[in-house]
């Protein structure tokens, strides 16, 4: 898996810029996401990882060139980009708290909702909670809803932003298991602060600093090099903890 020659790209980001008000957050970010496996997008806090994912699906004001399977998507609306095949799991889960678990899922899959086979397969806990309001779920359960929601659609690529943030070690492992399983069939661009988890499931890494990509390469190599991780990622990364 940890082959240094990545598969052909499913997503190519070229010279991506994002301005928020007067700040130039992304200053020409360029990278490819291989068509298989997990690519981890890393960087210090506040460097623009979330912004990069948002820019890709059109939730941040952007310029530059973004192609999915070779087709330009940078001028399309978010809902269109998502239907073209990019699933997005946002940083803070953003489940619809006033809707039930089933309703959250039916937004994406009106006919099956919680009855879709993938739910029973990967998120069995949700099946029994189908009529519970998502706002009353625990953080881990909400994360499962947020993940399940995007998996109800066929995706060419998943953008997943800090799925283990704020979760207890046991739940971190559960989420990692789900991600590893999903990655067998769908490439993932993953923002993640938990280095053991990155080592376990990521193949490639892309590191952003000061608005640009400063490192690309093999995930295991980076994680195995404390001096390099310290230099690129500072102290923000969690070195220990379950994965």
């Amino acid at each position: 898996m940890n082959d240094n020659r990545p598969a052909p790209a499913v997503l190519s980001v070229t010279d991506l810029h994002v301005h928020y008000g007067g700040s130039h957050i992304l200053q020409g970010v360029t990278f490819d996401v291989p068509a298989t496996g997990v690519t981890a997008l890393l960087g210090r806090n506040g460097v623009g990882k979330t912004t990069t994912l948002k820019a890709i699906i059109g939730l941040a004001p952007r310029s530059g060139r973004i192609t999915l399977r070779g087709n330009e998507i940078q001028t399309q609306r978010t809902s269109r980009i998502v239907r073209e095949g990019i699933g997005y799991v946002p940083e803070d889960r953003e489940v619809f708290g006033g809707l039930t678990v089933d309703e959250n899922l039916r937004l994406v899959d009106p006919d099956r909702g919680v009855e879709a086979p993938v739910v029973a397969e990967l998120f069995p806990d949700l099946v029994g909670r189908r009529d519970q309001l998502a706002g009353t779920l625990s953080g881990g359960q909400q994360q499962m809803v947020s993940l399940a929601r995007v998996l109800l659609r066929r995706n060419d690529l998943l953008l997943i932003d800090e799925p283990t943030k704020g979760l207890a070690p046991k739940l971190v492992t559960e989420v990692a298991d789900v991600l590893a399983e999903v990655a067998r069939t769908t490439p993932i661009l993953l923002v993640e602060q938990n280095l053991p988890l990155v080592r376990r499931i990521a193949d490639q890494v892309v590191v952003i600093d000061a608005g640009r990509v400063v490192h690309r390469g093999d995930a295991a190599e980076l994680v195995a090099d404390p001096a390099l991780t310290r230099e690129l990622l500072g102290v923000a990364m969690r070195r220990e903890g379950a994965a």
């Binding site: 699906i57 609306r77 809902s79 619809f96 309703e103 994406v108």
Partner: protein
């Protein structure tokens, strides 16, 4: 006792009209965050559409039948205006709230001026079915029949909208969109299309409100929708900005308070008491400025 019953029924009738006027406003604000100041013009358009239809239909038809057709036309006109306004004026200004306010205020001024230019500034009397202008005696109180019509129509609209929100795909998308529009879009759902549909539904409700309000007033006039709109806004704010059941409860409370104050204090105090009620709600519950459906 019979006085009180009369006041309750007339107050509820007024509340029903307020709900009809406020429901579309509340739906649109809840989902899109748009304060639609043109809603009054939607109502005026409905009123004139109903009046014109009733005048154009063969006078040999009973008034009730012509009114029924007028109501259908008013609803359709309201829906079409809502749809066109959303597509042409609101959509380009998505996220520009100040500009949206300016555009909808401008539209309402232009609409009133246009109605004045075409049909004159004076109120034009509308025909009312005999039964609706009559009364029914209940427990010694002579209750105006038209109020029962407003109450029944408002209940039907409330039930219809709640069913739409609860049991349909569109309703699910609206409820989700009220919570978090961006995330709905990020799940691959075209929220813009939903906005257009909701604006059309809001316009249809406004058309219905307009034509029934003209029955209540006995006339159509260019400024009619605008004056009803003020109460509709108050109702929407008291009801929690975007909550449909909140809007219904607030409409009933406002209608009753206004009617009771007018009777027990002095005529005109009703309006004042409504404003006081609004101030009280805003002071005690500032969170009512946030949105939530159903």
């Amino acid at each position: 006792m019979s006085d009180l019953l009369l006041l309750l029924v007339t107050g509820l009738g007024l509340g029903a009209l307020y709900f009809l006027a406020a429901s579309g406003l509340s739906l649109i604000y809840g989902l899109m965050g748009v304060l639609n100041f043109a809603h009054g013009v939607f109502m005026t358009a409905g009123a004139y559409a109903g009046w014109l239809t009733m005048g154009d239909l063969p006078q040999s038809l009973p008034v009730g039948a012509r009114l029924a057709v007028g109501v259908v036309v008013a609803i359709a006109v309201g829906a079409v205006i809502g749809l066109v306004v959303e597509v042409v004026l609101i959509r380009p200004l998505y996220r520009h709230h100040i500009q949206q306010v300016l555009v909808t205020v401008g539209l309402s001024l232009a609409g009133v001026a246009a109605a004045q230019g075409i049909w004159g500034a004076d109120p034009r009397p509308v025909e009312t079915p005999t039964w609706m202008s009559g009364t029914t005696v209940v427990l010694g109180a002579r209750l105006p029949n038209d109020r029962f019509v407003y109450i029944a129509v408002a209940l039907l609209l409330l039930a219809g909208l709640l069913a739409l929100l609860r049991y349909t795909r569109l309703g699910l998308v609206i409820r989700a969109g009220v919570e978090n529009r961006t995330m709905v879009e990020a799940l691959g759902i075209d929220v813009q299309r939903t906005f257009t549909i909701v604006f059309a539904i809001g316009g249809a409700a406004a058309g219905l409100a307009g034509v029934l309000y003209s029955q209540y007033a006995g006339a159509v006039s260019p400024g009619q929708g605008g004056s009803l709109l003020i109460y509709a806004f108050i109702v929407v704010v008291i009801g929690g900005m975007g909550s449909l059941t909140g809007t219904a409860v607030a409409a009933v409370v406002v209608g009753l308070v206004q009617q009771l104050a007018n009777y027990y204090a002095a005529s005109g105090v009703g309006d004042l008491s409504v404003v006081l009620l609004l101030a009280l709600v805003l002071l005690l519950r500032p969170s009512s400025l946030k949105g939530a459906t159903a």
